[in-house]
């Protein structure tokens, strides 16, 4: 793969508008995100924790191209707007994570009303787009960070806005801590809540997510046809406060490079899980790429990094309370025009462009 990329550089087929990054933090060659003629009308998204909140946002804000989502320990769309006499940050860190009682959980009726109004006013696509989609939801029974009371409201929200109950698979049967689940004994024990928040509970959650969204997928491949590629995220970012890393990652199976128009699945890490914090653990060792290889799916791994001052995002979380617009009292972090969402949308558009 590296040889191919170097030859593309040499042939002038890979051009950058900014000074190219030669390597990422761990010495991986960084390229301009190539165009693959991807089929983005079959896009889906999944994420853990802040990545799951972001997955809700991306899923609703791009519902015209989405076919499903996987939400692991995450709340409903617009969750930080649940209770009117609290700030977005207060809602995000209490109601949307570990409410004291289920009565303080996300305020689903209010969130549904607001989502409908946003759709009616054209800030997000029609909610009717969700009617033929498929969702995977997960809450570990030992998760102290985002409790089951919150994820229950995620299920309630999506049912209320039109995803059929029969198309939602909600698993709250596993005694898991706050983590993405794998079947790898080298990961943390299932019930723990500890960095890097990837736990061995005896099954590959990435596989379950993708099978729920795209029924009839083949079993994962034993081997990958290439490497995960590091790409320059900077060209997709047009705001100073996104907290997004310079480098993102993508896995493109050989068939998708050779002419098959493949759907894209966006994978969003949680807080303290970006590549600058845990290296390749999330984008290379959670089972997504093996499923991509067997089923001709492109895996896109956008990245966020910690930022201590402006914006205030010390744990490198995705934005679900408005930090990416620090000067606004009514920040937009939830429509297609939100700084992080529009950056990801641009990445999808690049992948969909015709091959050079």
């Amino acid at each position: 793969m590296k040889r191919l990329i170097r030859s593309l550089f040499a042939a002038g087929l890979v051009l950058t508008s900014q000074p190219p990054q030669a390597e990422d933090a761990v010495g991986k060659l960084v390229i301009r995100l190539p165009a693959y003629g991807a089929n983005i009308d079959q896009t889906s998204v999944s994420g853990l924790s802040s990545g799951a909140f972001m997955a809700s946002q991306l899923y609703v804000a791009l519902s015209d191209i989405m076919v499903g989502a996987g939400i692991v320990a995450g709340g409903p769309y617009l969750c930080a707007k649940s209770w009117m006499d609290k700030t977005l940050l207060e809602n995000a860190t209490t109601t949307c994570m570990h409410p004291l009682t289920p009565d303080d959980a996300p305020n689903t009726p209010e969130l549904v009303r607001y989502a409908r109004q946003l759709a009616e006013d054209g800030f997000i696509p029609r909610l009717e787009n969700l009617a033929d989609d498929r969702l995977y939801l997960f809450s570990g029974t030992r998760d102290p960070v985002v409790t089951t009371a919150v994820v229950d409201q995620t299920a309630a929200f999506f049912e209320e806005v039109g995803v059929p109950a029969t198309s939602i698979r909600y698993d709250r049967s596993v005694a898991a801590g706050h983590a993405l689940i794998t079947d790898d004994r080298t990961d943390k024990a299932c019930a723990l809540t500890e960095p890097p928040f990837i736990n061995d509970c005896g099954f590959e959650q990435s596989r379950e997510i993708l099978r729920q969204i795209y029924p009839d997928l083949k079993p994962p491949a034993d081997r990958l046809s290439g490497d995960v590629v590091a790409f320059d995220q900077r060209e997709f970012i047009d705001s100073a406060n996104t907290s997004m890393s310079d480098t993102g990652y993508v896995y493109v199976p050989q068939a998708c490079q050779d002419g098959v128009s493949c759907p894209v699945h966006v994978v969003l890490h949680g807080c303290l899980q970006g590549a600058e914090v845990i290296g390749d653990r999330y984008y290379a060792h959670t089972g997504y790429n093996e499923m991509a290889e067997a089923n001709n799916l492109i895996m896109l791994y956008p990245q966020v990094r910690p930022s201590r001052e402006t914006p205030s995002n010390p744990q490198g979380c995705w934005d679900f309370w408005g930090y990416s617009s620090p000067d606004s009292a009514t920040p937009d972090y939830f429509t297609r025009n939100a700084p992080q969402l529009r950056a990801i949308y641009r990445m999808l558009n690049r992948l969909a462009q015709d091959r050079p």
Partner: protein
């Protein structure tokens, strides 16, 4: 700190490490505080809450119209309040218990850490490391307590809003205005999509 310790070749390695741990702690604490305070902006927070209220009113939140009160909702409100108070009390007890446990274990942790020290410097290094560990436990407890207070306060505020809504529940009004919806992007973030 490295300059200090590197120029004193006679200092025990364990003591050097312990001093470095304290030095790291001293530099990371202000950074954490800065990050914490950076998250709060009272003026912006107040504007944000007012905006939320305007938006809720715009979406049809009309308890202020004081229609006929629903007596059944009062029973639910009292039950929810009782549950909330019980949960708050449990949280408070947990926090006290955590502090108590840490305090009770202080002597034992220090005694165990300095046991078998081969030299005064070794003793001091172990003592410093154990003390830092205890300080971090207290810090963790304080964070847990702050989180619990946040949860409790949040729950009472949600209860108040929900109670008002349920007591004076009105049919939702439909409006066509969009003035209170957030602008798609802030000035700072404007750019081509």
């Amino acid at each position: 700190m490295d300059n200090v310790t590197s120029s004193n070749a006679g200092i025990d390695t364990k003591l050097t490490e312990a001093l470095k741990h304290w030095s790291d702690y001293a530099s990371e604490s202000p950074q954490n505080l800065q990050a914490l305070f950076g998250s709060f902006n009272p003026l912006k927070d107040n504007v944000q809450i007012v905006q939320h209220m305007l938006q809720a009113l715009y979406l049809g939140w009309t308890p202020a119209s004081l229609g006929r009160m629903n007596p059944a909702a009062l029973t639910d409100a009292c039950r929810e309040l009782a549950e909330l108070q019980k949960a708050a009390q449990d949280k408070g007890t947990d926090c006290c218990q955590r502090f108590l446990n840490t305090t009770l274990s202080v002597g034992q942790q220090i005694a165990e850490s300095v046991q078998g020290a081969a030299s005064p410097q070794d003793f001091l290094g172990s003592y410093l490391d154990a003390s830092l560990g205890i300080l971090r436990q207290y810090e963790y407890n304080a964070r847990a307590q702050a989180t619990a207070f946040g949860q409790i306060q949040s729950a009472y505020r949600a209860w108040l809003q929900k109670t008002l809504e349920n007591l004076y529940a009105q049919p939702m009004a439909e409006t066509g205005a969009t003035s209170s919806l957030p602008a798609p992007t802030s000035t700072q973030d404007s750019g081509s999509a």
